[in-house]
């Protein structure tokens, strides 16, 4: 047993049981039995966790000794009339302090579990051996508390969940969010992961989105942790009939990010659009896994990923579409484009398909390269200087993902943060 596993087991032993004990127990036993994933595991081929496994972790505290107000934390401006809820190391604020939002009920997961454990249990996946779910097991066992959000109408203003990671590098936090969008309801939720201070705890977060019949969500997760930070984040999406999910995953912070998305299109007409914008900068290692399961007829998924890698960074994007038997007329597309901006950077992409049904439409494509020399020459031949031409092409590369974002202030904040990590950022700002 490695140091990390031992320390997680010690944390498990030290905690007092709560209303979710049976679920937690199962998850922890499974986690201890399987251990941390290794590179032999299917979805971990490109990521070596050995140095992380050699560390021990203590539970990160709920407290944050700083002033949040004077820091530019928000991705949205006042115009959007958005609300922000801040979670420190996964701990939700006192519920009384959360402003009331029409159409959204916010609860503590632990409090809710005291009242109705079987209701809460519905939003926990059964314990699984799948290697992409290993850290979720740990989150289920150890999460202190989290937020349950119920969306019961069409909510227009976005809600920002600010995940603040603060403390020491030998600590770990397990933020957990449940987003329950009732039939016919809709919302825009932005999860923004940041750190404060020079060091930050390991963050192992999980978000579960449940979309009722005809429900809609536009969901963002923006990884913007400081240098040195490590983050693992898993997103589970369950979609009922004709529900629509538009999801943006933006990786532009931290030193190590492992991000996964598992979507289940469980009923006819469910549709998922997933966009990933993965920026490798300095020595960042950014490993992204998408697994989309079409489990019902007439379901549709679109996955668009753009990866940029500069310096000595490494970006990985693995996506898999599974079409279950009986999911006739499923329609899926996976497209990944990678752009290498330095000779030492690396991008790995692997689109996969697993089809068990007839009459399906599945397309996938992945390309990685440097800036297109024909495009570059065209711009130069019009008199643009080389730096401008290159920046313009990098910007164009990102444009399709950015233009899909409907929260304009989030879009421009994300754009600005992205640009600052690209070469010639001053020039790039001119194109906005």
């Amino acid at each position: 047993m490695n140091a990390a596993l031992r320390s997680f087991e010690a944390q498990w032993r030290a905690r007092t049981p709560d209303a979710l004990q049976p679920i937690r127990e199962q998850a922890m036993q499974r986690f201890l039995k399987l251990g941390l994933p290794v590179q032999r595991d299917e979805t971990w081929r490109y990521t070596d966790l050995r140095s992380l496994a050699a560390q021990s972790f203590a539970t990160a505290a709920c407290a944050f000794n700083g002033a949040l107000a004077d820091e530019p934390l928000s991705l949205v401006d006042a115009e959007q009339r958005a609300s922000t809820v801040v979670l420190v190391n996964g701990c939700p604020p006192a519920l009384a302090s959360i402003p009331a939002i029409d159409g959204i009920t916010i609860n503590s997961i632990r409090e809710l579990a005291k009242v109705d454990p079987s209701f809460v249990a519905r939003f926990f996946e059964p314990a699984s051996d799948d290697d992409q779910r290993r850290w979720v097991l740990l989150n289920t066992a150890l999460f202190t508390d989290g937020l349950y959000l119920k969306i019961s109408t069409a909510v227009s203003a976005p809600l920002v969940i600010l995940h603040l990671s603060s403390g020491e590098a030998d600590q770990a936090a397990h933020p957990r969010i449940i987003i329950d969008v009732l039939p016919g309801s809709s919302a825009t939720i932005i999860e923004h992961h940041v750190t404060r201070g020079d060091a930050a705890p390991l963050s192992n977060s999980n978000t579960h989105i449940s979309l009722g019949t005809d429900a809609q969500i536009e969901h963002y997760r923006v990884y913007a942790a400081g240098a040195g930070a490590s983050q693992l984040d898993a997103l589970d999406i369950h979609q009922c009939a004709r529900s629509q999910c538009k999801q943006f995953t933006i990786g532009l912070g931290g030193s190590f990010i492992r991000s996964s998305l598992e979507a289940h299109l469980s009923q006819p007409g469910a549709s998922l659009e997933s966009y990933s914008l993965l920026v490798g900068h300095e020595d960042r290692h950014l490993d992204c896994v998408n697994i989309v399961t079409h489990a019902a007829p007439d379901t549709r998924s679109r996955q668009t990923a753009r990866a940029i890698a500069s310096d000595v960074s490494r970006v990985i994007f693995n996506s898999k579409v599974i079409v279950k038997a009986g999911a006739a007329h499923s329609d899926s597309q996976q497209s990944c484009r990678g752009l290498l901006l330095s000779p030492e950077a690396e991008i790995d992409t692997r689109p996969q398909l697993e089809i068990h049904a007839d009459e399906v439409k599945c397309a996938h494509g992945a390309t990685t390269g440097r800036l297109d020399p024909d495009m570059l020459f065209y711009l130069l031949s019009r008199g643009l200087d080389r730096e401008t031409a290159q920046s313009l092409l990098v910007y164009a590369f990102l444009a399709d993902v950015l233009s899909g974002m409907s929260v304009s202030s989030a879009r421009s904040a994300i754009e600005s943060a992205l640009i600052s990590q690209l070469p010639d950022s001053q020039l790039l700002r001119k194109f906005r």
Binding site: D372, P373, D374, M375, F377, Y378, L379, L380, S381, R382, G383, L384, D385, R386, T388, A389, L392, L393, Y395, A396, F397, L398, A399, D400, F431
Partner: protein, 250 residues
């Protein structure tokens, strides 16, 4: 204006240009014709400064300057324009942005101030009207989803906005319908003047009915094998390239 002597160039290790000699004076229009694969586009791209085309011999001067020592962007700013045979699509880069950046790059090089937004828009509107192009093209990505003919019109639009001293138009007439051919020809003619020159690469005599050339050259096997006046184009149309090759041997 342009003087090419003994120009040889290699592409991907293969000798494509094998000693081109050509002199274009200010005020002139030259047409270059020749069989497919003879090196016409290669010549055009070498003149525009494409780096992966390696010049192995010869020299080129443009207004007395050593063209081959200038980078592509410097050549453009000095007044050289290449209308591409196959204009590339650049999704995500706005057409109007490119026009403005190109115009400003040229003005900056000439020590002029950047064009202001109103002045620029007025200029673009006027040129687009002239080219009979809808303003909807402005907000689209550069050549993105444009039809073959629309791409060629867009090249001419850029040329009209930039007002180059030397325009090299590589098969700008290919793929145009009759009306578009007239529009493009009017565009090219509007640029003719004592201070400017045009080099037209074309396969068709019909363009030369609208834009009357001072000289016509035949490029074959990477060099100019025959030159003449506009009647040469008519003769080529009648007798084909074999005739040129035969008359050379004879």
């Amino acid at each position: 204006m342009l003087e090419i002597s003994d120009l040889s160039a290699r592409v991907a290790g293969k000798e494509i240009l094998t000693g081109v000699n050509l002199k274009v004076n200010a005020g002139e229009v030259h047409a270059i014709m020749g069989p497919n694969g003879s090196g016409k586009s290669t010549l055009a791209q070498v003149l525009a400064g494409r780096e992966d085309y390696e010049v192995t011999r010869g020299s080129v001067t443009f207004e007395g300057r050593d063209l081959l020592s200038m980078r592509a962007e410097e050549r453009a700013r000095a007044g050289l324009f290449l209308g591409f045979q196959y204009p590339v699509e650049i999704p995500g880069v706005n057409n109007v942005y490119l026009l403005k950046a190109a115009l400003n790059a040229k003005r900056k090089a000439a020590g002029e101030p950047e064009v202001d937004a109103y002045e620029f828009l007025a200029l673009i509107r006027q040129k687009m009207k002239f080219m009979q192009m809808s303003e909807a093209f402005l907000s689209r990505g550069v050549n993105e989803g444009f039809s073959g003919g629309e791409k060629k019109r867009n090249e001419v639009l850029q040329m009209l906005v930039l007002e180059p001293k030397l325009a090299i138009l590589d098969e700008t007439d290919s793929g145009l319908d009759i009306d578009a051919l007239k529009v493009v020809s009017t565009g090219v003619n509007s640029l003719r003047g004592p201070q400017r020159a045009v080099v037209l690469v074309t396969h068709y005599q019909r363009l030369l009915d609208y834009v009357i050339p001072d000289q016509v050259h035949v490029l074959s096997g990477g060099r100019i094998v025959k030159s003449g006046d506009k009647t040469l184009a008519q003769e080529l149309e009648r007798r084909g390239y074999d005739w040129v090759m035969e008359s050379r041997v004879a």
